[in-house]
């Protein structure tokens, strides 16, 4: 903010938000395609999600007579939170336009804001499936929260900041910082949280047809047309942001620190490369494990919490 003028900041913010918004569906498509290949299918075109979203945008919306204005507001809130989040996470440069606005805590609470409204929307139409999804979703989100904070705490202790940009810069600056058991533990903890928060296996199955086992899908069963498109788009962005965050916080190399053509290009390539690797890892994991029994999920999150706790402890004690 102080380095670059306000108008430039706005432009930068819009640019990055736009990039995230445009690239996110491709990442989802990529994971789907990879999973198809892993099970011996030719699978869908990675660009398929764009076609799906565009189609939904042009369709009619059928809305439950029970639902209220909140149901129609929610998709907009979701998109809004994700767009704002997209200007907070270091994606293109270590210090995106709004990196000063509140750091990782803002990010986590923005995601929470989305969860809050989506869960309400799930209840709004009064279907049992929606309520079930909401109840499960908020439980998972609530139990995932402490892990995130502790993982962040570990990073903050290592780098002396909760400002995402600064974390990335410090780690990028001296990779030695990353060579610490606490760092690895924090990474693992954060990875598990990512699975839970973005509704991937083994917590939730984005591809399931069984209402009774759904978490995220159950909340959006009632959505259709443009509203559905917005929600799908927002959750794609959420996945993109979480994966980028994971990468740029824990493997923060080749992220340009200021806006230069060459640097940006290198940065983009590096990001793309890292994302593909992570996507492969995610696809393999999702193919190799079954979904957890619902009440094992808290145990998983407790495990991630323990990891985070360990990481902080190691950082504190091995100082």
């Amino acid at each position: 903010m102080r380095e670059i003028g306000a108008p430039a900041a706005v432009v930068g913010a819009l640019a990055q938000a736009l990039l995230v918004a445009l690239a996110a569906p491709l990442l989802v498509g990529l994971v789907r395609a990879l999973k198809a290949r892993l099970t011996g299918r030719r699978g869908p075109d990675p660009w398929q999600p764009y076609l799906d979203i565009l189609k939904q945008l042009r369709k009619e919306a059928v809305i439950s007579t029970t639902a209220s204005w909140l149901f129609r507001l929610t998709p907009f809130v979701l998109v809004a939170t994700m767009l704002v989040a997209a200007t907070v996470v270091p994606v293109l440069v270590t210090r995106p336009a709004l990196s000063f606005a509140g750091g990782i805590m803002l990010l986590m609470y923005l995601f929470m804001l989305g969860t809050f409204f989506l869960a309400l929307a799930g209840l709004d139409s009064g279907s049992a499936f929606g309520g079930m999804g909401s109840s499960r979703e908020v439980a998972v989100a609530a139990l995932a929260e402490p892990t995130v904070m502790l993982a962040v705490f570990a990073l903050a202790l290592r780098t002396g900041t909760t400002n995402l940009g600064t974390v990335a810069e410090r780690l990028g600056g001296e990779p030695a910082l990353a060579a610490h058991p606490g760092h690895l533990l924090a990474f693992l903890a954060f990875f598990i949280v990512m699975l839970a928060e973005t509704g991937r296996l083994p917590v939730d199955n984005p591809a399931t047809h069984l209402e009774l086992t759904m978490i995220h899908e159950a909340m959006i069963l009632e959505y259709s047309g443009p509203y559905l498109a917005m929600i799908e788009w927002a959750s794609a962005m959420k996945l993109f942001l979480y994966m980028t965050l994971l990468i740029n916080l824990f493997v923060p190399w080749w992220i340009p620190t200021e806006v230069t053509g060459a640097g940006m290009l290198l940065g983009m390539l590096a990001l793309a490369g890292k994302l593909v690797l992570l996507a492969v890892a995610l696809a393999v994991l999702e193919t190799a494990v079954a979904k957890l029994r619902l009440f094992r999920v808290p145990e998983l999150l407790a495990g991630s919490f323990a990891l985070a706790l360990l990481s902080v402890a190691s950082v504190v004690l091995l100082r």
């Binding site: 009619e60 919306a61 059928v62 809305i63 439950s64 007579t65 029970t66 209220s68 204005w69 909140l70 809130v77 998109v79 809004a80 939170t81 767009l83 704002v84 709004l98 000063f100 606005a101 509140g102 750091g103 805590m105 803002l106 609470y109 929470m112 804001l113 969860t115 809050f116 869960a119 209840l123 139409s125 009064g126 279907s127 049992a128 929606g130 309520g131 909401s134 109840s135 499960r136 908020v138 439980a139 989100a141 609530a142 929260e145 402490p146 995130v148 904070m149 502790l150 705490f153 903050a156 202790l157 002396g160 909760t162 400002n163 443009p226 917005m230 009440f295 919490f305 504190v316 004690l317």
Partner: protein, 636 residues
């Protein structure tokens, strides 16, 4: 009569608030009436801290009284008690000597006691009042003895003389006093495990009173703790702060966990007050620790965070209680299982309640987020303390706070979703009426308050920091100022609420615009909720409040120890033709069963006389207390 008094109260609140504001901003005032109170005379002093809490009292009284105009509907019952209650709360922060303080404190207790009993035909209310009286007096005893000890050792009833004298006291003596007074104040603040009275008493009172009790009264307990640990006793050992942090974490988690499964809307809010007191205590405790380890700036920052949360909680908890009151008024029930569909019948109330829910869930861009953020930052600063055992305490508090934040979201999704969304579950809910103009106005006022508190941290933090600095007896600057952002110790973290709000607003508008520009056909067709093609939807298909909390009941069953009662009436041998089947799934309170069931039993048995007096008139009761006061003072 009633209406005019409430108008009067509102105006009074306004003046008190303004007075408090000036005091908070630093101009000291003093008032002495030697003949009014025995022993020392009534003595009031206004300092920034006192001013701050006076402002809190006044500012919360205004909406509550306005609300009461429509809510109490000219009912005369409890009017006097209400006035007395507010007056007492206004005196407590200013009391400058022991008798004045104890008198005001006791009056506050009595008035609120009477208000809890407003509906004395309700056995629950009577029991609540009884528990409340017992707990208050346990607390009062602690305060009394603690203060008398100080008086005895310092030879002065005037608080102003204590700090100097305290430095001469032995470590054990100071610890003893701290423990006694902290216990007394913590009891009033509703800190777990001294909280049992709170979820019983707050809901029993009329909603505008509940708002004051949760929004202000319990905060005065926090004020007491601040005065004891930072002012009266000088710098204490770190463990004071550690104890406060741990107690705070326990309260925060316990409060929100019980709130998350509660089905009585007002009890739910009461439990969440315990949770928020816990959050405040965590910040206060952090301040204590930083103070005692010589990190003054951080101490100031932590306390500023605590103050901020005190303001915020007053705003949104009052809002939520008033909203709950409107629901009770409109739908005629406090039971979540009997609500539903209110968003279409009480649009204004639901909107207001939604804002309150977002705020208390600490979601941006509302005010709860600001203080939660500050508290987190304060805790994250503990890296500066070179003592691992203290770091680990902070880490626990941090994790606890994070979990609390998550659970609060779950808790209020449930509260709002079950109460206001989907189809009404009962006839009463179906016929609910929107609240009257004054009630709506009061809620609107508080919504504005929340918004203001959300957008102006940069304006509020400096004075809050100054107040903290004064309390700690030094004048360090709280935080670098910047019209847009607060910077915590340089580059550590920054927050800019206006930017967040603006960005979110933009983000909301953008998709709207894009949809219009891309002229996506905005054809909308309304059709029944998808029910797998079978039948029309009924409210029986909706998730219930209990059901919604079932994941938590499973995860934290050690805490709730849920029972599963199934009665089955089968038909002959055919287990597949069950005639009747009843299912209940109640949860119970760990603390109440293990700590208080025996305790209260003993007290009940032992104090038949006391009970006789409590069931009698308030005056009798007052005389008894004053007598006790005098006797003890003479002894001292």
């Amino acid at each position: 009569m009633a209406t005019s008094l409430h108008v009067l109260m509102a105006l009074g609140g306004l003046t008190v608030g303004l007075l408090g504001f000036t005091g908070w901003m630093g101009d000291a005032r003093a008032l002495d009436v030697p003949w009014l109170v025995p022993l020392s005379g009534l003595s009031l002093r206004m300092d920034p801290l006192g001013g701050f809490f006076l402002l809190l009292v006044g500012a919360t009284t205004v909406p509550s009284s306005i609300y009461a105009i429509g809510y109490a509907r000219g009912a005369r019952r409890g009017l006097g008690a209400y006035a007395l209650f507010v007056l007492a709360m206004a005196v407590v922060p200013l009391a400058a000597n022991v008798p004045t303080f104890l008198l005001a404190w006791e009056l506050m207790a009595l008035a609120s006691y009477a208000l809890v009993l407003t509906d004395d035909r309700d056995p629950a209310a009577v029991r609540a009042a009884w528990i409340y009286a017992v707990m208050t007096h346990a607390g009062f005893a602690c305060l009394l003895s603690g203060m008398l000890l100080m008086t005895a050792w310092t030879g002065s009833l005037t608080f102003a003389d204590w700090p100097a004298a305290a430095t001469t006291l032995s470590e054990p003596a100071r610890n003893l006093v701290f423990v006694l007074l902290a216990l007394g104040f913590a009891g009033k603040a509703g800190v777990i495990p001294l909280h049992v009275w709170l979820p019983a008493a707050h809901p029993a009172a009329p909603s505008h009173v509940s708002a004051l009790m949760s929004g202000v009264m319990i905060k005065l307990g926090v004020m007491g703790i601040l005065r004891v640990g930072l002012e009266w006793l000088g710098v204490g050992p770190p463990w004071w702060g550690v104890v406060l942090m741990l107690a705070g974490t326990l309260s925060a988690l316990g409060g929100v966990l019980y709130a998350a499964v509660e089905v009585d809307l007002k009890r739910l809010l009461a439990f969440s007050s315990i949770d928020n007191i816990g959050i405040i205590l965590i910040a206060v405790g952090a301040g204590f620790v930083f103070h005692s380890t010589g990190l003054e700036t951080l101490a100031i920052f932590a306390l500023a965070a605590a103050f901020y949360h005190i303001l915020n909680h007053a705003a949104f908890k009052a809002l939520l209680f008033l909203g709950a009151g409107a629901v009770v008024h409109g739908a005629g029930t406090r039971d979540l299982e009997a609500m539903g569909g209110l968003i279409k019948r009480m649009p204004w109330t639901s909107a207001a309640f939604l804002v309150g829910a977002l705020a208390i869930a600490a979601l941006p861009p509302l005010n709860g987020f600001v203080s939660e953020w500050l508290t987190f930052q304060a805790l994250l600063q503990n890296g500066r303390i070179p003592r691992p055992e203290l770091n680990l305490v902070f880490m626990l508090a941090l994790a606890g706070l994070a979990l609390t934040g998550g659970l609060a979201v779950a808790c209020f999704v449930r509260a709002f979703g079950i109460a206001f969304l989907a189809l009404p579950r009962t006839e009463a809910a179906a016929g609910a009426q929107e609240a009257g103009p004054t009630m709506r106005a009061a809620m609107a006022l508080l919504v504005v308050a929340c918004a203001t508190l959300a957008l102006t941290p940069t304006l509020l933090l400096p004075p809050l920091g100054a107040t903290a600095a004064r309390l700690l007896g030094d004048a360090a600057p709280s935080s670098r100022e910047d019209l847009l952002t607060i910077a915590v110790s340089g580059d550590f973290a920054t927050l800019s609420m206006p930017v967040i709000a603006a960005a979110l607003g933009l983000g909301l508008v953008l998709p709207f615009v894009l949809l219009r520009v891309g002229h996506a056909p905005s054809r909308i067709r309304y059709y029944e909720t998808w029910n797998c093609g079978r039948l029309l939807q009924t409210s029986r298909m909706e998730y219930t409040a209990t059901a919604f909390a079932s994941p938590f009941r499973r995860v934290f069953d050690f805490l709730y120890r849920p029972e599963r009662v199934v009665e089955i009436e089968a038909h002959g041998e055919s287990r597949f033709f069950v005639r009747r089947m009843v299912y209940r799934n109640p949860t119970r309170s760990l603390v109440e069963d293990w700590l208080y069931a025996p305790l209260l039993g003993a007290v009940r048995a032992g104090t038949a006389r006391v009970r006789a007096i409590q069931s009698g008139s308030a005056n009798l009761y007052l005389i008894y207390v004053l007598a006790a006061l005098l006797v003890l003072l003479v002894l001292a």
